[in-house]
Amino acid sequence: MSAPASLAAVNDFVVKFANVNGSGSASANELFAKSILRMGVPVSPRNIFPSNIQGLPTWYEVRVSEKGWLGRRGGVDLLVQMNPQTWAEDVVELAPGGYLFYDNSKPLPLSRFRPDVNILGMPLTEICNRTYSDPRQRQLFKNILYVGGLAWLLGMELPVLEKLIGEQYKSKEKLLAANIKALNLGYEWSRENLEPLGLQVRRADAVGDRIFMEGNTAAALGCVYGGASVCAWYPITPSSSLAEAFQTYCKKLRVEPETGRNRYAVIQAEDEIASIGVCLGAGWNGARAFTATSGPGVSLMTEFIGLAYFAEIPVTIIDVQRGGPSTGMPTRTQQADLLSCAYASHGDTKHVLLFPEDPTECFEFAATALDLADRLQTPIFVMTDLDIGMNQRLCAPMKWDDARELDRGKVMTAEELEAGRDFGRYLDVDGDGIPYRTYPGTHPTRGSFFTRGTTRDAYARYSEKGPDYVYNVQRLLRKFETAKSLVPAPVVQQSDEKTPYGVLYYGSTSPAMAEAVEELDAHGKPLDTMRLRAFPFPLGVREFVLSHEQVFVVEQNRDGQLRSMLINEFDLDPARVVAVLHYDGTPITARFIADAIASRMKPVRVMPLAGRAA
């Protein structure tokens, strides 16, 4: 048998860690990724985890890309195989010439390996058993040990790793020393027994001032900065860490210095219905409130969402989307809640949706949503997903303008009421469809009204008269029109040369799309792109579609939900918009997009794909 070929690449490869859930691998794997980042090389890690606390397989995939591609690439160049349960399926994924790193404390039959990949055995269990007596340490330090081993193999700088460990265990001397020791033990063993790989990390300067952050944390911080004082939520994957992060930040940033008392309230409610009910109550009474949830939670909230739409109460809902329908794939990613959110609840309803592409926009859009909710007096959805929410992503630093005020919208004050200003809760005074409201308790004799889900006239008096009803729902449509000019505008990128092809996309598809567009362009297939950042769609979206012969709509759901909304809202000819759909629960890849678009371009012709097979 001849020796397998060896993949060779600098700062451009994919490492996949196969671990057992609950074995303590997460922090070691994160250490690995972050140390590459500290060497100035962009990485994009992704957790691929089960709905489980202990025992089931979990993976951590790290894409290293000096060019800065942050989407999932597909394929694996180096497999760190720490889980016998998934050995067979993981080994199949390895590229020919790739590397298989495993714990060779116990010999494995030759039949379990592939002849076309390079085998790297390190006796992790044996070293740990020799070095540590405590069973828990034997397990935990195995993880740090392999990070040490990989550092040698990939040419990573040991001091960078040591510094990161130092930061992590700043106040825990004992743990710090033990971790540094394990790291060095792994590094030394590897140096004495193995040759460096063809895959190498080399110090670069491609990270800049970017930050490395999870979308859920960023959105939580956006809610702090956006002035939310009430958060009501019910635990659900993948959104739970958002509400928890809000509480953590509030403990640090929202305590009244003189009294030590809190300028926030977090209610872990009994279910999602109560969560949004609490938010509605707070919003009605003039405090900013939000809830974080996922698809099943939105399903439960829909009756209240209809009330908030019809009675015009501000509320922000952050939907960290996961695979549906039903319980679906709770720990996998999708963009499949668009329709259920955009038209949530019975009767004629339409809601504002925002589509952040990364943690930076999660931060921005969470704060924007709180402003929009007050300005438009209606529910605002922030449609993030598991891929953005629960993975650390390299992104632009968060920014805040200290001159920015909270936009509380049209609230009539006691002084205005006292001065005799006419108050009709559902009266369109300014022609933008947005009426004035009053907070309860404002004035002794003026400005009170009865909020209800039943129909009413412009002065909030119960009415089932047709004209009163029509006035009201037409005004709501006008308000939705007004929203078009207030929501974040689409981001358009024209190709250098004129092209008949356009592509629409949104949310977590962004990084893969950027890479796919460059790849298609390199193969003589330039595309104009438009990244949608909100619903309702501004008119420019329709023009973009009509000014191209063929427009691809790339989404991570089965039914082409955004495409349906485009057709529905703009009365478009469905033939103009071609669905490109990825919905197996894994994040969409550039390879998939480029492939799918190339094969659907009119006139149809097969285009050779660059790079390795997915």
């Binding site: 002035g227 004082s229 977090v266 209610i267 509605l280 919003g283 009474n285 003039g286 405090a287 009865f450």
Partner: protein, 351 residues
Amino acid sequence: MTYLAKPKLHHPSLTRNAVGYTRRDYEGKVSTLCAGCGHDSISAAIVQACWELDVEPHRVAKLSGIGCSSKTPDYFLGQSHGFNTVHGRMPSVLTGANLANRDLLYMGVSGDGDSASIGIGQLVHVIRRGVAMVYIVENNGVYGLTKGQFSATADAGSVSKKGIKNADEPINLAALALQLGATYVARGFSGDKQQLVPLIKGAIRHRGAAFIDVISPCVAFNNHAGSTKSYEYVREHNEVVNRLDVIPCKSEITVQYPEGSVVDVEQHDGSVLRLRKLAADYEPTDRIAALNHVLAHEARGEVATGLLFVDAGAGDLHEHLNTVATPFNRLGARELCPGSAILDRINASMR
């Protein structure tokens, strides 16, 4: 019910309370409920209680769910903001409203369908959390607006107007509230306003979750022979455990009663709940004893009414969450937004 509008002018000789309002100023729109409906008596009792306690009408927020009872907030306190939410979900909305502005008085009005069936989960949790509120269930054992179906508080064996016998066990809301930790639990009868007004006044003065189960007969669908929620049945089986007087401040206590016949409970604001005992062995500050008493009466087919339990030293949700004294809805960017310098530090920690 009537279709005649109430005159807006008040008689100049009407008595004004300490904050300058007459009783009429606490009224709302004309009720659209059936003539003789128990709920209208409860609305009148709320009006009376608020007027007597000098509550400013606009400092009350009244919330309800869906159903006959939940319509009533339109019929009292016309100068207050009201919120008719969705079926069974008033408690969560009230919780959020209370968090947003701790300075208002929150009055939640609900029915037995709203609170014991579709919304029992929310009832349970709003009490557990100790939300400061007056929660009144107008309990008639029947769904009125949908014409006479049994509710979850209808007694097993009671017969509907259409002659159907109820086989399901009833939910005893007062006992449930006691078990869940409500810090003020009362039961009244809409046919006894003299008893009901002080019970509502005591609840208004209470800090914490105050719950009042008011048996309120439905004249249209549940006032017949065979019903255990009819005026006649409740009058015959009403076991009043005590009579309550709410005395705004301790120094005003003048009437003396024989020793052992009254219990005085001082509230957090200095007001006193004076309970004249009717059941000699009744101890309204002992939760377990109260629960036993209520359940023992229920087993005998009787309805124990009065102030069943009070814990005057109770805290509320704001205390549990250690929130600031300023209402949340008055906090601005200065108090809520940490600013760019801190954000820069957070950015730096993410590299």
